[in-house]
């Protein structure tokens, strides 16, 4: 007798394609975090110093702080629409593993927010005096870091669903958990900018990524169920 329930991985893939499709119908939503990232990064040459050497020294930190803030901003719409129209509730009641469904949702969210951020980052790095040769390194490190951020952030987003001024609270909750990502990520980016090998912090970052996408959906699923009660 075949199991009529869709296998979890297929369900997750269906969620990913649904979220991607819905997002492309409203592309303005995706522009906001990106625009925020660009603007925050631009603030630094204006407020600190336009001198290239100084900017290059602070570039890794600036890129990562801006990326973190943009990612926090983007987490706002991870669950918002689906919570409002009842889809999230359907997911929880569907009999499918909510963990896998949320894994799919968060992965889709990263494709829509973190990935574009990591593609934009080398460009912003260039405005901060970073040579384009370091572009690949910046892209890879920001891509990995934003992936971990999306997953860890999903826990916070689930916990603050429907809380008034939840966005601020979300940032406060996520920041302590995001600090290791920030530290490893900016260290890796710094080494990449200097042209040195950035394997060591990358491995640490990668292990954080693996930990977060295996464990975070579990916690997020628990948090979503609590929020929907």
């Amino acid at each position: 007798m075949s199991d009529r329930l869709t296998p979890p991985l297929t369900a997750a893939r269906l969620v990913v394609s649904r979220d991607l499709l819905l997002a492309f119908r409203r592309p303005e939503q995706l522009v906001h975090p990106l625009a925020f990232f660009v603007m925050v990064t631009t603030l630094f040459p204006l407020s600190v110093s336009p001198e290239r050497a100084q900017l290059r020294a602070i570039a890794p930190g600036v890129l990562w702080v801006a990326a973190l803030l943009a990612a926090l901003l983007a987490l706002d719409f991870l669950f918002r629409d689906d919570a409002q129209d009842g889809t999230l509730e359907q997911y929880a009641l569907s009999g499918q593993s909510l963990t896998w469904l949320l894994l799919g949702k968060t992965a889709a969210h990263w494709l829509l927010t973190g990935l574009p951020l990591s593609l934009m980052a080398p460009l912003m790095g260039y405005t901060l005096g970073v040579p384009m040769s370091a572009g690949a390194g910046i892209m890879v490190t920001v891509a990995l870091g934003s992936l971990a951020l999306s997953f860890i952030g999903s826990i916070g987003a689930a916990l603050t669903l429907g809380v008034r001024r939840g966005g601020v609270l979300l940032s406060i909750l996520i920041l302590p958990l995001a600090v290791p990502i920030l530290i490893f990520g900016s260290r890796a980016t710094e080494l990449a900018i200097r042209g040195e090998t950035y394997l060591a912090p990358m491995e640490l970052l990668a292990s954080v990524v693996v930990l977060s996408f295996t464990l975070a959906p579990l916690a997020a699923a628990a948090a979503v169920r609590i929020s929907l009660e």
Binding site: I155, G166, L173, L175, E229
Partner: protein
């Protein structure tokens, strides 16, 4: 079976009464130990060869840092018990732990800074242990902030429980940070074997202090727990008998 004591602990009136009985015992014992540790640490213990009298700050810094970690662990365990077995009293324990833990984390950071300046020349350095301890403070504050953002107590309990459990990963990071990374913070001063053992006359007040602070924490927790239980069980009939006295 032996589960009956576990179930009894989950009963609010039982816990309320038990906590009330135990509090003075823990409180007075803690008081005696802390006064003894204070006298021993400040007067009896000899000055350190390298650090002179400054090392006496350890007698407040180490126990408060220990408290900051231990309290978070208890908070996370209680939160997990409350979440998994849906025991209200466990959630009350977690809620009661948080403010105590947060305040002693702040004290640990401050006393650490006051030790760091004369000994290492700086109030602060962004090394793994200090940074992760600071993050621990943020986790406590985030926990308390999340709790207060819900009007529904049950949802507050369960959501903050998830946060507490997720954040517990920081506790081993703080503890093992001096092992995993080279840092300014000195390594373990409490190893019982090996060359880094601390001299006995200096060790005794530290142990007294740690035990004293731990018992003190239990006493304060029991008082808070009674308050939390009363708040949650307002409508229950046993409350009327208890508060009429």
């Amino acid at each position: 079976m032996t589960w009956t004591w576990f179930h009894r602990l989950g009963s609010p009136p039982y816990i309320y009464r038990l906590a009330g009985i135990l509090t003075p015992w823990f409180g007075w014992l803690a008081g005696v130990l802390l006064v003894g540790a204070l006298y021993d640490g400040l007067v009896i213990a000899p000055p350190d060869y390298q650090q002179g009298d400054g090392f006496r700050i350890m007698y407040v810094h180490v126990p408060t840092a220990w408290l900051s970690l231990m309290i978070y662990t208890w908070m996370a365990v209680a939160a997990a018990v409350g979440l998994i077995w849906r025991i209200k009293v466990a959630h009350a324990v977690a809620a009661a732990c948080a403010p105590i833990g947060a305040s002693f984390t702040a004290v640990a950071l401050l006393t650490g800074m006051l030790f760091g300046k004369p000994m290492w020349g700086t109030y602060w350095v962004w090394d793994p242990r200090l940074t992760s301890e600071l993050l621990l403070l943020f986790l406590y504050l985030g926990y308390m902030g999340l709790r207060s953002s819900f009007d529904d107590l049950q949802r507050a309990d369960r959501a903050s429980a998830v946060l507490a459990i997720v954040g517990v990963v920081n506790v081993p990071i703080v503890h093992f940070s001096v092992v995993w990374w080279n840092s300014l913070h000195q390594g373990s001063s409490l190893s019982l074997t090996g060359k880094d053992t601390i001299a006995t006359p200096m060790l005794i007040p530290l142990l007294l202090s740690m035990l004293g602070f731990t018992l003190y924490f239990v006493a304060v927790l029991l008082v808070r727990l009674r308050g939390e239980v009363l708040r949650r069980e307002r409508a229950a009939s046993w409350v009327a008998e208890v508060v009429a006295t």
